[in-house]
Amino acid sequence: MKITICIGSSCHLKGSRQIVEELQRLVAENDLKDQVELAGKFCMGNCQNGVCVTLDEENFSLKPEDTKSFFENEVLKRLK
């Protein structure tokens, strides 16, 4: 599974670093380093909303505080 987080200017200002760090922490905590790959990407062209995150081609728009529920509801569910 690959999660791509936008690290462009406006997503950076909207908190992409916090999301990246939170996801890195959650992936390590759940021992999923072999199954989940985190990657950065420049502007995905959907800047008007939250931070652009794609999970296996599907687009999401996250706020830093949504990261945990995104991880639990989307990432963990798909792995099961």
């Binding site: 690290i7 200017s9 406006s10 670093r17 950065g40 420049f42």
Partner: protein
Amino acid sequence: MNDLWTETGYISLNKTGESLCGDRVEMHGGGDEDLILVLADGLGSGVKANILATLTSKILCTMISGGIPLEECVSTIASTLPVCSVRQVAYSTFTVLHITDNKTAHIIQFDNPATIVLRDGELYDYPKTTSQISGKTIWQSSFPIQKNDVLIAMSDGAEFAGVGMTMNFGWTRDSIADYAVANYLPENSAKSTCGIISDECNRLYGGNPGDDTTIAAVRIRSRHTVNLVVGPPANKEDDTRMMNLFFSKEGTSIVCGGTTSNVVSRYLKKPIVASLDYSDPEVPPISAIEGVDLVTEGVITLSKVLAYAEDFLDAAKLAPNWAVQKDGASLIARELFENATDINFFVGRAINPAHQNPNLPITFAIKQQLIQNLTDCLKRMGKHIRVSYF
């Protein structure tokens, strides 16, 4: 005209407790033009020394660059300087480093520690002649310059670093020369050469310099061009034209901005490989595209570069963060401030819809202003700048 370029830098440490420095460095020209650098050390310290040094350096710099014979310059100083009421003399020592036609170095010295010349990292013993001008013994030297020559002038505060504290007789000019040789690297900029020596002086003084200490360096290097593209062109049809021009230039290539990177990636038909490595939490991570030397985010990174540039121009700052950090802004700073002599900016005027959100502090006007301020700083560093808009 040859490919050589004269780069200058200096650092002054004030005597402990003094807010004014009694040493003064005045410069004119540089780059691919003739350079005159004058380091003057006024008698005493504080305001009086500062005035003597300022007058001396300014008069010498202006008169020598006007082509006036040295005898006249020195006698002008002798009759202009105010006489010290305590010591009944008008006195300021000086060193003049004069590079002409990118070919010859002329060194004129009066009572400062002898200028150190490094040639390919080794001490170079240049010829000296002495003459008496207005009762002063002046040393004069002329020799042809080569790439990688470094000329280091200093005030006597450097020689006396550590007297009676860490050493009996201070550091002496010869041990400073050995230290400069031991720490020589071909890529050291003029300013970092000054930093290496002045840091050691400061250490020997135990952090409290007992005298004003100034190190000034001239480095003879070859020219190096850096090309930086930021922002996609206003009209999409101009993408290819902008890229053709950008990639046809010789030198290092830097691409700033997410959308801009996408344009480059399409043009080169190579993917963008983004990293998630936040070595500075304030600066977005860098990426890589095969065929480009450095790929970074745009406005946030460049704002940081501008802040570093303003710090760099403030002569008092010693070891900057950007000299060692690995984030995008530090990498750009090193490339622009230290490696580049000529910089071409390719600025796209496209309006990014993402930046039109009123909650985000980026507007197109800010981007323009950013480039303007950055190029102003780089010009003050003596770089040749060209900006093209698309």
